[in-house]
């Protein structure tokens, strides 16, 4: 076993890349759940974003348009969920599961002609002299724009929920739809907007897999990232900062175990492959066991204005 082959700077830099899809999807789902909606269709929206982003990028030659297309596709799929659960009052859990199945099937169909093609690559953001700083330059200042966008979104969502009136209304809707309605807020409208935001972020996360991380299209390539994103939201106690911690932890252990496998560590491969899931769940369970914050009180409950 040769552990010297693992360089910390590259390890940290690649963990940021490998965590970004889950971070984006989990952040979006966190906002959805804070509005009181449980959308289990994250996996389906991610894979739809992955294929849509890939197809748009190939046809237009522009990765930026690809990401826009992915966000639009994720939001479009989530709109179906929004109409079913918010307007037709269908069950959140069943509808979300159906959304995942639909997304997986749809993406396989749409993606068939694109298999084996190579996506135009997303250039690294040129930060000039910053990237020259030893260690930190490599770790922090030599990424593509989506990595920075995802971090900016974490800060933005945190500030939105904490400091803005719209964020307060969104939390209120997730705490008690009846009370928010009695005060005259449009529960359904707020929830639909949150669902669309969650869908768009899941789509971006998916496109990051197909356009940057892999970068090509294979059927079912999200491989459960959407489910991990859902778990991270719960264990992060619905807080933006902890979502970031959870996503980077998962991404970090994933990268580390791949490196360990490559270095020939004397641990069964199956155990190494399972380690990101085990470590993330363990750490976040310990965090959430301190009881920082409970689930939004109205999570997963349909709301219908009566009399």
């Amino acid at each position: 076993m040769d552990l010297t082959a693992i360089q910390p700077a590259i390890l940290i830099a690649s963990l940021m890349v490998s965590s970004t899809p889950i971070l984006l999807a989990a952040l979006g789902e966190m906002v959805v759940e804070r509005a009181g909606v449980l959308n289990l269709g994250v996996e389906g929206m991610m894979i739809t974003g992955a294929v849509a982003g890939f197809a748009v990028a190939i046809n237009s030659g522009s990765p930026a348009l690809g990401f826009l297309g992915a966000a639009a596709a994720g939001a479009a799929l989530s709109l179906a969920f929004a109409v079913l659960t918010q307007l037709l009052l269908s069950n959140h859990v069943a509808t979300g599961l159906a959304l995942t199945l639909a997304g997986l099937g749809l993406s396989a169909l749409v993606g068939k002609p694109y298999e084996g093609m190579k996506a135009p690559s997303l250039p690294k953001l040129d930060l000039g002299p910053l990237a020259e700083i030893p260690f930190f330059g490599r770790v922090l200042f030599s990424h593509d724009v989506m990595v920075y966008l995802s971090l900016a979104l974490v800060a933005g969502v945190w500030a939105f929920l904490r400091y803005t009136r719209a964020g307060l209304i969104l939390r209120a809707v997730g705490e008690s739809a009846e009370a928010a309605h009695a005060l005259g807020y449009h529960v359904i409208r707020v929830r639909i907007l949150a669902i669309l935001f969650g869908g768009a972020l899941a789509g971006l996360g998916g496109a990051y897999i197909s356009l940057v991380r892999v970068p090509q299209w294979t059927e079912g390539m999200t491989a459960g990232a959407g489910w991990i994103a859902l778990a991270i939201v719960v264990f992060a106690s619905w807080r933006a900062g902890w979502v970031l911690v959870g996503a980077y932890l998962f991404g970090g252990v994933t990268v580390l175990q791949l490196n360990l496998q490559a270095a020939g560590a004397a641990v069964p491969v199956a155990l190494l492959s399972a380690s990101p899931y085990l470590v993330t769940i363990l750490v976040l369970v310990i965090i959430s066991a301190r009881g920082l914050q409970g689930a939004p009180a109205a999570l997963g409950r349909s709301f219908h204005a009566s009399g």
């Binding site: 307060l168 008690s176 009399g307």
Partner: protein
């Protein structure tokens, strides 16, 4: 006090129909500047629909409203608030996980930045003697404090019309007195107040005039100070009804006994039970009062067996029943009825027959070798329905389809009809109209007269004065000393319930 020249709100011919019911039928009245106007009526009389129309939650089918001389037809609550209408809700308007300041900001049109808002909250709450900490999470507040949040939220908007929907149901008598003082000050400053309540003595003490609704129509108006509570009750019901009578009765052996009953809080916002001791004799009614959220639900759950208790704390006929489950306790003659009707006392989607069966199966022999005796179960449900005047199409109706008051009559009646030796009830007449409440109380007293032991947990002090022989107050999960009811005054009872906490009379001046 009504000055017609200075009307704040006037309603003309307001009508609203729902499928199958005319909730409000041609309602007209007006409220003057500085007037405290009572809106009286039983459940389903149309009070809440009327208030929702004024607050913009429901649009009237026909009729006109005028606010300060201008036509008023708010399409949504925001518009009503902007026009100067504020409302303190009975339910559903606070968010447990948010702070006091956040809750208040949600009820305002243009909330100032958090720091200024916090300062304003302190200022206004102290001005009116309703101290509040803006940073506290609402879920950790007592019921009385929650109400202060609602009231301060309204006061910050400097409303011209303040609507209060059953505001005193969660307050001690001392807190009620302070609330009234606050409301009188507000009225002096020119605010019009629409006050909804079914506590007639409070209306007599507070209100300048009253409008009485029955089945969606205005049936009478009166000056509460010049009308007796009984006359008002009869106007509400539309008929006279029998007063509750107490037959003299002898008390027997101790049947139910709690010795130092303690239990941890069931959840984040629950109350622990702390060292509760009492003994209940056959033929007596023990009344336990207290402000909501002081351990009532937890005590009933411990008595019912929903939460088992450690050994040596709970005894029925001298036998330790702490570890026994609800069915076994029922079989030994201890019946209970919790406060929450839907989902606790009754399964909402199941029929009345099935709901009857759920608690009466054993005591009424409705099971035969594990099979249900459906005709017997139906007869039992029908008997409860007719004896307690439950208004429903029949025993096949789902519990959810009944109005709150009617379902309450059914779930209490179901227990009374099983003739248990000990009956513990929580809020037996909550949301039930005056005539039916009198019938339920009479039934409880009749049971006691026949030798049953009755424990009534209630937040309605008038009710406890009417039925209880002895009284104790629940405060923070502890039980006060138990005293004979006849020795107690309303004021004394209020002090036993914790008095007015840290409240003080408004010092506006």
């Amino acid at each position: 006090m009504t000055r017609q020249a200075e009307q704040v709100l006037s309603l003309e011919g307001l009508t609203k129909a729902y499928p199958g019911v005319l909730a409000c039928d041609d309602i007209s009245f007006s409220i003057g500047r500085g007037e405290i106007h009572a809106l009286l009526g039983e459940n389903g009389a149309g009070k809440s629909t009327l208030v929702k129309m004024i607050y913009g939650l429901v649009a009237p089918d026909s009729g006109r409203m005028t606010l300060e001389g201008r036509p008023f037809a708010p399409p949504e609550p925001r518009a009503a608030r902007a026009a100067g209408v504020a409302m303190v809700f009975q339910h559903f308007s606070l968010f447990d996980a948010l702070s006091v300041a956040e809750n208040i900001a949600l009820g305002m049109e243009e909330a100032p930045p958090p720091r200024r808002l916090a300062a304003r909250i302190r200022e206004v709450s102290e001005l009116y003697g309703l101290p509040l900490d803006p940073a506290r999470t609402v879920g950790t507040l007592s019921a009385g404090e929650r109400q202060r949040v609602e009231i301060v939220r309204c006061l910050l908007q400097e409303p011209r019309l303040l609507i209060m929907d059953e505001p005193t149901s969660v307050l001690t008598p001392q807190e009620v007195e302070i609330l009234f003082e606050t409301l009188r000050r507000l009225a002096q400053d020119g605010t019009a107040i629409l006050y909804i309540s079914h506590k007639l003595e409070e209306i007599r003490a507070l209100c300048d005039s009253a409008t009485i609704l029955r089945r969606g129509q205005v049936v009478a108006t009166c000056t509460p100070a010049e009308t007796t509570a009984r006359e008002m009750a009869e106007m509400m019901v539309g008929a006279s009804f029998a007063a509750v009578e107490r037959a003299p009765r002898a008390t027997g052996e101790v049947v139910l006994e709690a010795r130092g009953l303690s239990a941890p809080a069931p959840g984040a916002f629950g109350t622990p039970l702390r060292d509760i001791s009492f003994s209940l004799r056959a033929g007596e009614v023990l009344g336990l009062g207290g402000v909501a959220g002081n351990g009532q639900d937890e005590l009933l759950a411990a008595l019912a067996g929903e939460r088992p208790s450690p050994r040596g704390m709970l005894f029925l006929d001298g036998q330790d029943i702490g570890r026994l489950g609800p069915q076994t306790r029922r079989a030994q003659g201890l019946a209970t009825a919790p406060e929450e009707r839907l989902g606790h006392a009754a399964a909402p989607e199941m029929s009345l027959t099935e709901n009857g069966l759920l608690t009466a199966a054993q005591s009424r022999g409705l099971l035969r070798r594990g099979f249900i005796d459906w005709p017997g179960a139906r007869r039992f449900a029908e008997a409860v329905i007719s004896r307690f005047d439950v208004r429903t199409p029949g025993p096949q109706a789902a519990a959810r389809a009944l109005s709150g008051g009617n379902l309450q009559k059914f779930v209490i009646g179901r227990e009374i009809a099983q003739r248990p030796r000990v009956l513990a009830v929580n809020q037996p007449t909550w949301g039930v109209d005056a005539a039916a409440a009198a019938a339920i109380r009479q039934a409880l007293l009749d049971m006691a007269a026949q030798g049953a032991a009755i424990l009534v947990i209630s937040q309605d002090l008038d009710e406890l004065f009417e039925v209880a022989d002895r009284f104790g107050a629940l405060v923070g999960g502890r039980l006060s000393e138990i005293r004979p009811m006849a020795e107690l005054s309303l004021e004394r009872v209020g002090l036993m319930m914790g008095g007015a906490h840290d409240m003080e009379v408004a010092h506006v001046g």
